[in-house]
Amino acid sequence: MLEVKGIGVFYGEVQVLWEISLKVGEGEIVSIVGSNAAGKTTTLNTISGILRPTSGEIFFEGIRLDRETPDRIVERGLVQIPEGRRLFPEMTVLENLEIGTYPQRARGKRDQTLKKILDLFPILSDRKKQLASSLSGGQQQMLAIGRGLMAQPRLLMLDEPSLGLAPLIVKKTFEIIKDIRSQGTTILLVEQNVMHSLQIADRGYVLENGRIVLENTGKALLEDKNLKKAYLGN
C-alpha cells in the first residue's frame, strides 16, 4: 500500500536520513521504533510531504507521493497524527474534530464519522464544547486520534501517541490503535515505547541514527538481542 524506496533527507546541509526503505501492506500495523533523534519523526514528515527527500521515492497505492504537497497527500487518505498532539488549543473539541474533515473526500460523510468517533471516545462527547487546551493529556491524545480519524484515512500514521501519558492511558491508547486497524484502517506507528508498539505490530523497523538497522515481525524484534542494545547500549 505504502512503499518508501531508499529516501535520503537533509535539514539544510545536514543529512538526517539515509536510504530509508519500508513497506506497509493493506490492513497491517507497522511500527518504527528507535531512540530519540533516530529519525522517526523525520521519516513520517517526509511521507506526509512536509519535508522533501533528496533521493529515493515514495509510492502510495502505486501513485508517486514525494513530489506532492501535504494537502494533496492528506486528500489521498494518508493522514498523520503528529507528535505532541498539536491540537488547535483555542478551538473546541467539536471544532477540532470538524476540522479533521477538511479534506474533500471526508466532508460528505462528516456527520456519520463524527458519530462514530464520539462513540469510540465517549469522553469527547461529554466535552464537546470545551476548548481543546482544557483537556487532560490522555483526553487530548484521544482527541488527536479522533481528529485524524475524521479525515477518514486509508493509512493512519501516529507519531509517539504514548508520549507523556500515564501507563494506564498508554495501554488504552494501544488498544484503540488495534481497534482502528480492525475497522479497516492501515497503521504506521512511530514509538519510543518498544514493548507496546511491537506487541501490536505485524512488522517493525528499528531506526538508529537515521538508518534502518533491524527489520522483522514485531514478535521477532522483541526477541532480538540487538534491540536492547540499540536502546541501552549493552
Binding site: 535539514y11 546541509e13 545536514v14 538526517v16 531512540s35 530519540n36 533523534a37 509517539e160 508520549l163 507523556g164 501507563p167 498508554v170 519510543q192 515505547n193 518498544v194 514493548m195 507496546h196 506487541q199 541514527n209 537515521g210 522483541l222 536492547k228 536502546y231 541501552l232 547500549g233 549493552n234
Partner: protein, 601 residues
C-alpha cells in the same frame, strides 16, 4: 613595518577612498552638487549611527528621529534663548539624547521583533506631537529659524565647504568608532546577542546592558547629526526633523547597503541619496514623491532578493579586485601562542578550586519545577563531585533539559535549592552564572549563525579575557583543542550538525567554566562522529572540568560517565555507576515499558 602594511591594497584602498572624500568639497564647485554631497554624507553618518544598534545589535529602531530632533532642538534653543554656542549645544544635546535613550530603551528592549519596532514608532510619534503642540518652546509647526550670522562659534558658515568638512568629520568619527567597536568586546557581544540572545546569555553576556549601551552610543551620534542639520539648514520644524520618515531613511540606507557591516550604511546612502536628490531635483516639481516611490521599491526588492544588502553582492568582486592590485598579500594568519603541554583549559580551575568548603561542586536539593500544575522536575536531589562526569538520562519529556535550565538560571525553581561551590545560587541570571563558572550547551544548537566560527568562540572568550588579543588567542587555542581549527573562517551557519555541536562546546569552553553542562551533544551524529565527541568530552574532563551530560546514546553514557542519574516523569528513579544503571529494572521499565521485563523474564 608600518609603511609596508600601508602599501597593501587592503589598507590603501580605504585610504584612497578617504582622500577622495576629503577632496570632494574642494573639487565640487556647484553648490547644488555640494549640497547633495553633504546630505549624502550626513545620511551615511546617520545610517552608520543607526547601524550600531539596528545592525550590530539587531534592535530595529524606527524612533531615531527623536535623537536627531533632540540634537537639533537642544542646540538651537540654547543658541536662540541663551546665545550658547551650538558647538556646546551639540554636546549637551547628544548627552541629553543618551539619557533619553537609556530611559526609553530600558523598558522597550523587553520587546522583540515587530513589537519593539512599534514601540519605537510610537515613541517617535509622541515626540512629534509634543513638538507640534508645545508652541512656546519649539515654535510648533511654524518651526524655528536661526539668524544667518556666519561665525565659527555660531556654527554658521557662509559657504557650504566648511559644512562639508564638518559632516565628513562626523562620518569619519562614527566609522572609526564602529570599526574599533566591531573588533572589540562590544562588537562581538552585540553580534552575538543579535544572532541568538539565549546563546549569548550563557556566554556570560549581560545582553540588556550591551543593548542599552549600543543604543546610547547610537543616540549620541544621531543627535550630533541633528545639530549639524539645524546649523546647516538654519531652520527646523517637527515635519522635517521629528518624523517617522526620517527614522525610516536612517534604517533604509543601512538595510540597502548591508546591515551590520561597517561600510554598508555608507554604500547604501551613496547609492540611494544622490539618486533620490537627483530625482527630486529633476522630477520633483511635476512628480512629487517620486524618489520615495523608488526608495520603497528598491527597499522591497532588496529585502526579497538580496537580504544582506549591496555589500554582500560586491564583497567578492572587491576581494578579487584587491587580490589583483599591486602590493597584495593575503591576510596573515595570526601567530598562535599555543600553550605547551595539554593544560589549555586549566586557568578555570586554578581560579576557584579549594575556595569552597565542600567536596561537591554542585549540590541539588529537593528541586522542583512545575509548569501549569505539571511537575517537570520533582524533588530531585543529587551531588556532583569536582572533576566527575555525571550522566543524566531518561525518556523524552523526563525533565532533563528543565533541570539544566534550572541550574543555569533560565528558570527559577518552585521548590528546593541549588548550591554551587557551597553557595546558594538562587536568583542569579544566566550570564552571572556563566561568569561564576557554569557553562552550558543547548540541545538545539544556538550558533551565532552569521559570524565566523572563530568569532563565535571569541565572543565566549571575552568572558574572562581582559583584552582583544587575549580573547582571540584563547579562542584559537580552543578551536585547536576541539578540532575546529580548519573551519575557523567559515560562517557558523554553514557548519554541519556535528560541527555546530562542536562549536557549541567550543564557545562554552572559551568562557573557561568549572562546570560544563552538555545537552545532547551527540544527537544526530553518526557512529564515528559520536566516538570523536566522546573523546573530546573525556579530554575536557581530563583538563579538570566537571561535566554533566544529557545524552540518549546509551553506549556513550555508559562508557563516559562516572555516575548516572535517571529521570522519569520529573523524578529521580535511579542513581549510581553505569553497570548498576543498565541492569536496574526501573530504568529498563522506563525506557522499554514494563512488559518488556515481564516478557523477557
Amino acid at each position: 613595518m608600518f609603511f609596508k602594511t600601508l602599501f597593501r591594497p587592503q589598507i590603501y584602498i580605504p585610504f584612497l577612498g578617504l582622500t577622495l572624500l576629503i577632496l570632494t568639497p574642494v573639487l565640487v564647485k556647484s553648490p547644488f552638487l555640494l549640497h547633495i554631497v553633504i546630505i549624502t554624507i550626513l545620511y551615511a553618518a546617520l545610517g552608520s549611527a543607526w547601524n550600531i544598534i539596528g545592525g550590530y545589535g539587531g534592535q530595529l529602531s524606527l524612533g531615531h528621529t527623536v535623537f536627531f530632533g533632540i540634537g537639533a532642538y537642544t542646540s538651537t534653543l540654547l543658541y536662540l534663548k541663551f546665545g550658547l554656542s551650538p558647538w556646546l549645544g551639540m554636546l549637551l544635546g547628544a548627552f541629553l539624547s543618551m539619557i533619553v535613550a537609556a530611559i526609553v530603551g530600558y523598558p522597550s528592549f523587553r520587546l522583540r521583533g515587530p513589537f519593539f519596532v512599534l514601540s519605537t514608532i510610537a515613541f517617535g510619534e509622541v515626540m512629534h506631537i509634543i513638538a507640534i503642540n508645545w508652541r512656546d518652546v519649539t515654535g510648533g509647526s511654524v518651526g524655528l529659524g536661526i539668524q544667518f550670522e556666519p561665525a565659527f562659534k555660531n556654527f554658521i558658515f557662509s559657504t557650504k565647504v566648511p559644512y562639508a568638512y564638518i559632516v565628513i568629520g562626523l562620518l569619519v568619527l562614527i566609522l572609526a568608532v564602529v570599526t574599533l567597536m566591531e573588533k572589540s568586546r562590544m562588537g562581538y557581544y552585540l553580534s552575538a546577542l543579535r544572532e541568538n540572545e539565549d546563546g549569548a546569555k550563557v556566554l556570560g553576556i549581560n545582553t540588556a546592558r550591551y543593548k542599552l549601551l549600543a543604543l546610547m552610543i547610537s543616540a549620541f551620534f544621531t543627535s550630533l547629526g541633528g545639530t549639524f542639520y539645524a546649523q546647516y539648514i538654519l531652520f527646523i520644524d517637527p515635519y522635517d526633523i521629528l518624523t517617522l520618515s526620517l527614522s525610516i531613511d536612517m534604517a533604509l540606507v543601512s538595510i540597502i547597503g548591508g546591515i551590520g557591516t561597517i561600510i554598508g550604511p555608507v554604500i547604501g546612502s551613496f547609492f540611494m541619496i544622490p539618486l533620490g536628490e537627483f530625482l527630486r531635483g529633476t522630477l520633483g516639481g511635476a512628480f512629487r514623491g517620486i524618489h520615495l516611490i523608488i526608495y520603497g521599491t528598491i527597499l522591497i526588492l532588496v529585502v526579497i532578493y538580496m537580504p544582506q544588502g549591496i555589500v554582500e553582492k560586491i564583497r567578492k568582486k572587491y576581494r578579487v579586485l584587491v587580490s589583483k592590485l599591486p602590493g597584495f598579500r593575503p591576510e596573515e594568519i595570526l601567530s598562535l601562542r599555543m600553550v605547551p603541554g595539554s593544560h589549555i583549559l586549566q586557568t578555570a580551575n586554578a581560579r576557584s578550586f579549594g575556595e569552597h568548603p565542600t567536596p561537591f561542586l554542585l549540590e541539588v536539593q529537593n528541586l522542583s519545577k512545575y509548569f501549569g500544575g505539571l511537575a517537570a522536575v520533582s524533588c530531585v536531589d543529587f551531588r556532583l563531585r569536582q572533576s566527575e562526569i555525571l550522566g543524566l538520562i531518561g525518556p523524552n519529556g523526563a525533565g532533563k533539559t528543565t533541570l539544566f535550565n534550572l541550574i543555569c538560571g533560565f528558570y527559577a525553581p518552585d521548590d528546593g535549592q541549588i548550591l554551587y561551590k557551597g553557595k546558594n545560587i538562587e536568583g542569579f541570571r544566566p550570564h552571572i552564572l556563566c561568569q561564576k563558572g557554569i557553562g552550558r550547551t543547548f540541545q538545539i544548537v544556538k550558533p551565532f549563525g552569521n559570524m565566523s566560527v572563530l568569532d563565535n568562540v571569541i565572543a565566549g572568550a571575552y568572558c574572562r579575557a581582559p583584552k582583544n588579543a587575549i580573547a582571540r588567542a584563547k579562542a584559537e587555542e580552543i578551536l585547536k583543542f576541539v578540532g575546529l581549527w580548519e573551519n575557523r573562517n567559515l560562517i557558523a551557519k554553514s557548519l554541519t550538525l556535528p560541527g555546530k555541536k562542536r562549536l557549541e562546546m567550543a564557545k562554552v569552553l572559551a568562557t573557561q567554566p568549572d562546570l560544563i553542562l552538555l545537552d545532547e551533544v551527540m544527537a544526530g551524529l553518526n557512529q564515528r562522529e559520536i566516538s570523536d565527541a566522546t573523546v573530546l568530552i573525556k579530554k575536557i574532563n581530563e583538563e579538570g572540568i566537571t561535566v554533566m551530560v544529557i545524552e540518549h546514546v546509551m553506549s556513550v553514557i555508559m562508557s563516559l560517565c562516572h555516575q548516572i542519574i535517571v529521570l522519569h516523569h520529573g523524578e529521580k528513579i535511579a542513581e549510581g555507576a553505569p553497570e548498576k544503571i543498565s541492569n536496574d529494572p526501573k530504568v529498563i521499565e522506563a525506557y522499554l515499558g514494563e512488559e518488556y521485563l515481564i516478557a523477557r523474564g
